[in-house]
Symmetry: C4
Subunit: 383 residues, 4 copies
């Protein structure tokens, strides 16, 4: 059986009550294939925290009118939406663009237009320099993956600052990158402020006290936007005063757990996002909230949703690769907000290419790196 | 000449005697191409230990009715069967399913149905963590192969616990995996019980006294199912009291020699299997008896036979790869028995893909790893 | 709108004055698509240093008659030329060849004719030996890239002389090459004069005082042509007396910045080239002035322009690969001038093959190495 | 112009004298395209050492009747033969087989028939074990290449015995192989006699006095056939008494220079071969005289000529790969003479596959290894 759910409309924005409730529960229990028009009845476009989802229609397929609703992108509400497709009913594009909105889907065309063709008369100096502060004993792979990802994302020159125990590993695995050895054998105890380099701090650095000290010292002096990921965020979570020292327009890339360690527990993805919107505005930073439909929250509170990627990318090292891409784009002169959005888009795109070749089970972080070149190439090709 | 052997039937289940014997010997010596219907005359479906195989018809081709007989899968009796194919005579599938049976062929459809499509809203935490206790001076490759195989089998996060001499090798070869260094430079002297990690012990650990001590100490405390392979089994064979400490539902993966070191010598594959059935039930563990037609014996005594794979996989490191796959599946939440069966099926499937590319002579254990992604992908695709 | 610019001709060789000037400015501001015949009006074929480029027609497309003009190949004047194509108007080839010229485009046919098919009865001794003096702590990748590039450019045997800290890296990454360890752990302090080996000095050696001393000592005794690149040039720039000790017919491969460090600042590419022509003649060396349209200046002052390559090659390590190729060709017996020209052509050709596979953003120096074999193969195939 | 040279015939077996001489010189100087029937006039099928080649017709193409002559395979006489093809005139194959001959072309069909399909009920123990005694500081690549080649040639298990400095390199580059560390850090000072392992000694071991001592001690006790290559042969050349200790049916694989160091200088390839025939019979060993048309000389004096391969294989490490292949085949139970012949055939076949992909200039020893699997596969496929 097929049920077409178009009664309540999405404009209603009110919870289903009374008879409607019992109707929707009946539909949900019927086992019928449910198609919702625009949005499942009972679901709001935004802010479903107080909504009783049991009473909301659980569609198998939602045919969104003109564009997807925000609630499609959260784990808790996505269950009501099922698979979704956009019905183009010919809305005027200009009208859409002028409608004030607070969330946006990152689309391939926008990414393509930002990533311009290179001018032939350029040298590696025109494509930026990035210094990765990454790695510690037993976690050097994170540093390697981030650095390799950056070299495959158009970066001119990469330097890796890591403990001495990372020397042989890094120079063997990424011959294109320079290596700067920390004084310590196993952990990072000093963060150099390399002039002219875009800094990225975090992949695999651990949470040694000396590393935290180094991060604290560094952040106090730091002025230009940096990228903070993984253990750098965990360090900050342990010494939260550092939060105030993150330079304006920096990018942080927490997944849900890291985000909660930084900003307190959240019950739902939507709650977490609302907090991120608040914190991005307060701290004037870009927050990349990682997950399925990664959300990039800009310092002005606008939210960009990324729809590329697949669950095969839920694998160790995947986040380190993302850090490498974003850092490379930042070093090439893109604004933090743009670098973060495009980075997420390309990361997921490369992951999708990798899936075609090695499937979801076989997908490793190295496969994402290996597909970055083709990803950029396909995205940038005129369609 | 072609001889059709259908006289005695497989239901007879009696040894060939008298005139029949001389007839079958005559046929075997005739040089004719012999086709047996259902099962070669004189061969039993099971329990041929006391059978005189000289008197059994040696077929070139056996056309099994509805399903292959158990005796097709042992080296000693397979010689009588020759090549075999199944004749589907339209038996009722449900009837087959309800017939009590003690052995089963692992089939692709069953594997496909168990390996479900991933939910997009998942993170690496949803795909488990595994800790490999593996490697020693001169045998670090075994640790690398097992860990890499696990990362290509859907595992969320891998950690390798190895001697210090394995550090650079592991971090260069498997950047996705964490490394935990043993106190000793060359051998493992301590087995950490990493909370939340599925443990796999054995590839390349050697048989140093300190390693045996560590294994003994670990097993005494161990509660959750673990995977034991290779040198871990050889260690146990030297101190057999450890056998009693293997946690319930653990998986051991001996080849014939390792099995005999553990449980005494056996003359034939069939004898060895019968012993395995007994021991699996006694110890409440899963025994993966490796070889052509690897047999997975469950704690309830049921035997699952794997038919994927090829003799090009008879190469160093092949078993380490299998350990990696099974461990990854166990860590992802499959039951031990299921993880073992599916692991063997995928291992052989990947080996067959590798053979198509590099042939039997050129096939190395790394090739099996490299084809795991494609193997999972092809198996999981709807047919 | 389309404007055809063919009024002034290229033979005029005079700056645009008066009314012409205002006309050309008007055309430039019009937004029309401008097609220049032969050369944009107001631009000279050579020597535009004193020209006021604002007054020159800025074409979108230039249709050069018979061959491109020299000014097409400099960053500052290329802007006026736009895209260019050659119109073959049937000039007599012999006549062209006999016209005295001081610059030449490197063409594929010439490269093909020089790279002869190998005689089957040859051994690795027939394809030369090269010793790379390269690498230092943190910059071993440069050494690896140069050595690997040489092995993929037909060289018989490569040796790498590097500090001790480079040992494991080099032997793992380039098993085909021998390693010679410097006495020092981190920098080069001695340059061996290995008999029968073509020497290449520079990639990743840094500018340690001890390294400079070693270079100074070496150059004083050196007699045969060598290849000097990267930090070797930076060392020489700090102790300029070494310039006089560079053996005749040696090859130096500076990019614009390295060139200026050696020979003083230059405002334009054309000025820089004129200086290079002077210095190549004075020092009797080959100067490879790297950039888009790399110019190879021979000891006799003739300039060869290379047109292969793409801006994706503006990435760390790209120059090290070029050094490896040129050194391999020199070791195989080509004259310095020829080795340099062919090396640049093949380097760009391999970079173009790499771009087809991984695009401009994803292109790394290792990709250029990986495509060298196919590049040589395609170039050498009869067309 | 085309000259057909069929006047003198190959049966004449006499030097050209008088008028014939002046005629052949005239033809050679004419610039005409010369086609010789069967064999160029004046050239002998064998034994041209005293022949005056100036007087022999220098053909561009030789159409050999039924089979190529021995003189086609030597550098000095091949010049007279030019390109050659066999004209099949329908000679009776059996008659050919019964004609006593002392040299043979290795043909693909013979190789295919010897390399049998594997029995599915086999384990890695059925495919032998080999121990490579190889490598020293700065020359570990040779050890890596030989070991990797063996693992791609069907070997069950490989062990590498090398100095301590080779540990990390070997375990990273060949995870499938075990490593056995010599007591010395930089050179081999002890050769273990590993029971059940086929021994191969030589690639990259250098000529340290301690290494020579170890080789001398080892050879005195050795009883089973071993493979000796490269520096092992150079060591023996320095202490020639070791020659007498080489076990019967061992295989030595010198190129021309190594051969001459062992057995004295030779002016021509043919002279060298005659010496090899003598020495193989005296020492009862297999001599693989490497070069274009590698000749395998058996202990009975018979010579097998290999025609696979190409001059792109004239590159560092190519010989180490050959040692790996031959050793793997020997360990799998082939007789020394057969292992050597098949090894050379497969080595050249893999090199030809590599050439198709990376061309002659780009071909490295690693490429040969990478194509071994496909080579065995294609050779073994039924045609």
């Amino acid at each position: 059986d097929v049920v077409i759910d178009g009664l309540f409309g999405s404009g209603l924005n009110e919870k289903l009550l009374g008879g409607y409730t019992s109707l929707s529960r009946q539909i949900n229990d019927s086992g019928a294939y449910v198609v919702s028009i625009d949005i499942p009845s009972g679901l709001f476009g935004e802010y479903n925290t107080d909504n009783i989802l049991r009473n909301v229609i659980h569609a198998n397929l939602t045919l969104a009118i003109s564009f997807p609703r925000f609630s499609f992108f959260f784990e808790e509400t996505a269950k009501c939406v099922g698979e979704w497709k956009v019905l183009d009913i010919g809305l005027d594009n200009e009208a859409i663009a002028q409608t004030p909105a607070s969330y946006f889907l990152i689309d391939e065309q926008g990414v393509r237009e930002t990533l311009k063709k290179r001018n032939p008369f350029t040298t590696k100096d025109d494509y930026g320099r990035a210094c990765f502060v990454a790695g510690s004993f037993g976690m050097m792979g994170a540093a390697v993956l981030a650095t390799r990802a950056a070299m495959r994302s158009g970066l001119g020159l990469a330097k890796l600052h890591a403990p001495q125990c990372g020397y042989l590993i890094a120079q063997t695995a990424v011959p294109e990158a320079l290596f700067s050895g920390d004084e310590h054998k196993c952990v990072i105890t000093r963060i150099p402020d390399v002039k002219g380099y875009t800094m990225a701090i975090g992949p695999g650095i651990g949470r040694d006290e000396q590393t935290m000290d180094a991060l604290e010292v560094y952040l106090r002096k730091a002025k230009r936007p940096i990228v903070l990921d993984a253990d750098a965020l965990n360090c900050i979570a342990e010494r939260r005063s550092m939060l105030n020292d993150i330079p304006r327009d920096s990018i942080i890339t927490p997944h849900a757990k890291e985000f909660d360690r930084l900003f307190g527990d959240h019950m739902t993805d939507e709650e977490r996002l609302l907090k991120a919107v608040e914190m991005a505005q307060v701290a004037k930073i870009v927050i990349v909230l990682k997950g399925h439909y990664t959300k990039i929250v800009r310092p002005d509170g606008r939210v960009f949703v990324n729809a590329t990627g697949n669950p095969g990318m839920a694998t160790a090292g995947s986040g380190d690769v993302l850090t490498g891409i974003i850092t490379a784009l930042l070093a090439q002169g893109l604004h933090s907000s743009v670098a973060a959005s495009i980075g997420c888009f390309v990361h997921g795109y490369a992951g999708n290419l990798a899936r075609r070749k090695v499937g979801e089970m076989g997908l490793t972080a190295s496969d994402i790196v290996d597909n970055l070149g083709e990803a950029f190439k396909l995205i940038m090709e005129e369609k």
